[in-house]
């Protein structure tokens, strides 16, 4: 196992009596694209703010690059690019000037501004006032700002929030490229698994402030099983009929569901139904969806 870039220990944030984040042990390895998932209000942003030292944890601590964020904040943040919540910008300045403010503080050469503008595809709009940017452009400007200084770790909080499908795809490809070409470690949060499913290597799921899953994307996918749905006449009777032939169907509403099976078995199944005088109106093969596991995981927790 490679060295962890981010490691939190029993990280807890309490607001009044309510735990916003509780006993979180996050672990992001070097080179990971870590998808930090959870419904809105699960504690994603609070966690990210604690990672960056913007919010003090009630308990526990955060280590980034093996150093404590509270103690070595300034040294750590030199190598971290971050976009927290909605992007912030100075509307009365141009995109270029907004980035210049950051290079000025970090003491970076001006050409880095051109570079990051090119990476996020804003070169042509750099001279315009940010006030006139679309939400997607502002978001990309925020990412450009995070990229300044060639960080080793990139933390993006809901970078696809509020974007149209084309914008989401753009960001997704951008993140993929950064991870592959520059070898950056990236933590990206979202409330929609589908948005980042194609990008991430590791998934952490937070629900009501607690980490309920943290493994590779493959491990998550293995949990997801596809199923076969049949729409038939008299589903109750059909179920009993099928059971008498040794099938093991599930009834979901008026649909009969099966686990994924071979083509031969499917043919046999339909034959059995037809011979039993049931009409088959439709058949659906449901692909394994991470969205489903996500819902399963979070539902189990809430029960």
């Amino acid at each position: 196992m490679s060295e962890p870039i981010i490691q939190t220990h029993q990280l807890t944030k309490q607001y009044g009596k309510r735990y916003s984040v509780k006993d979180l042990d996050l672990r992001v390895a070097k080179g990971d694209v870590y998808g930090f998932l959870g419904p809105n209000g699960a504690g994603k942003t609070t966690t990210i703010k604690m990672l960056l030292g913007l919010v003090q944890p009630t308990q526990g601590y955060v280590q980034i690059f093996g150093q404590d964020i509270q103690e070595n904040r300034k040294q750590i943040l030199r190598h971290v690019g971050a976009l927290v919540e909605s992007p912030t910008y100075y509307g009365h300045l141009s995109g270029y000037e907004n980035l210049k403010l950051i290079t000025q503080v970090l003491g970076l050469p001006k050409r880095e501004i051109e570079e990051v503008l090119y990476i996020v595809g804003l070169s042509n709009d750099a001279g315009r006032l940010v006030r006139g940017y679309s939400l997607g452009m502002k978001q990309r400007l925020g990412i450009a700002a995070a990229l300044l200084g060639n960080p080793k770790l990139l933390i993006l909080d809901e970078p696809t929030n509020g974007l149209d499908p084309a914008g989401i795809r753009e960001i997704r490809e951008l993140i993929k490229r950064l991870a592959e070409e520059q070898g950056m470690t990236i933590l990206i949060s979202s409330h929609l698994l589908s948005e980042i499913e194609q990008t991430v290597t590791t998934v952490g799921i937070i629900f009501r402030g607690q980490l309920i899953f943290q493994k590779s994307l493959q491990a998550l996918k293995q949990r997801a099983k596809g199923r076969l749905e049949l729409e038939v006449s008299r589903p109750e009777e059909a179920k009993v009929h099928l059971q008498s032939f040794g099938w093991n169907p599930d009834l979901h509403g008026d649909r009969i569901c099966f686990e994924v099976m071979s083509r031969k078995n499917v043919a046999q199944l339909i034959k059995t139904l037809v011979q039993g005088q049931f009409s088959v109106y439709g058949m659906n093969s449901i692909q394994p969806s991470l969205e489903n596991i996500f819902i399963q995981l979070t539902e189990r927790e809430s029960c």
């Binding site: 943040l77 100075y90 210049k100 950051i102 000025q104």
Partner: protein, 245 residues
Amino acid sequence: MHLPIPFRYFYTELLKMRWSMIGFIILLGVAISLWIGFGIPVKVNQGVNEWLAFFGFTVHKYTMFFYPLIIGIFAAWVCRYEHIGNGWKQIFCLPISPSHVYFAKLGTVALLTLMTQFGLLSGFLFIGWLSGLQDAVPWFTLFSKVVYGWFASLPLMTLMLGCSLLWKNFATPFTLNFIFTVPSTAIFSGSKMGFWYPWSQPFLVMMPKHEWAIEGTQMDLFIGVGGMFCLFVGATYLFFTKRDW
């Protein structure tokens, strides 16, 4: 380019400013003060330097009203861009500490205020020359009053900056400023308490000898201004560095 980070950050504060607006505010404040100072027909007593007399008329309204107001505007201004859309968190994702940010903001307010003071002085000299004031120009007195006046407004700057950091609303520090200006004229300017009252301090320093303004030693002033400055910096600093973003 390779100055330490706090100085580089301070420079970005200046880059963020909308200088046209700042220039407009300074010009307006100075113009109104001068208009009042020179516009009211008065007779200058014999033996009094005309420049000093008119400086008194001008500075009286200026320090009472416009100067605190302008300081309040500047203080709110330097926090405004961060309050819109919580730019604070983006700043604190950079490798700088809250104290850097605080002192950069305070430095900006102080710089703008100093510009206002010199704006007033140049305006005053110009209008004075236009209206053909007699007597020799008391350069040293005028100059030192302007600089001391700036120094004496440091507590007010820190206080207004603290309020602006605390409240997102542009109007709140503004209203407070307005409310606390009134007792300045009524009570504090005439008593030793004035040396401790941030809205009276610039007035007491900048006014030439006058029946409405109590006289004190430089020590009184220094202790009052220094004390209040430390108090406000300390309080704001504690609140500002400890909070979550």
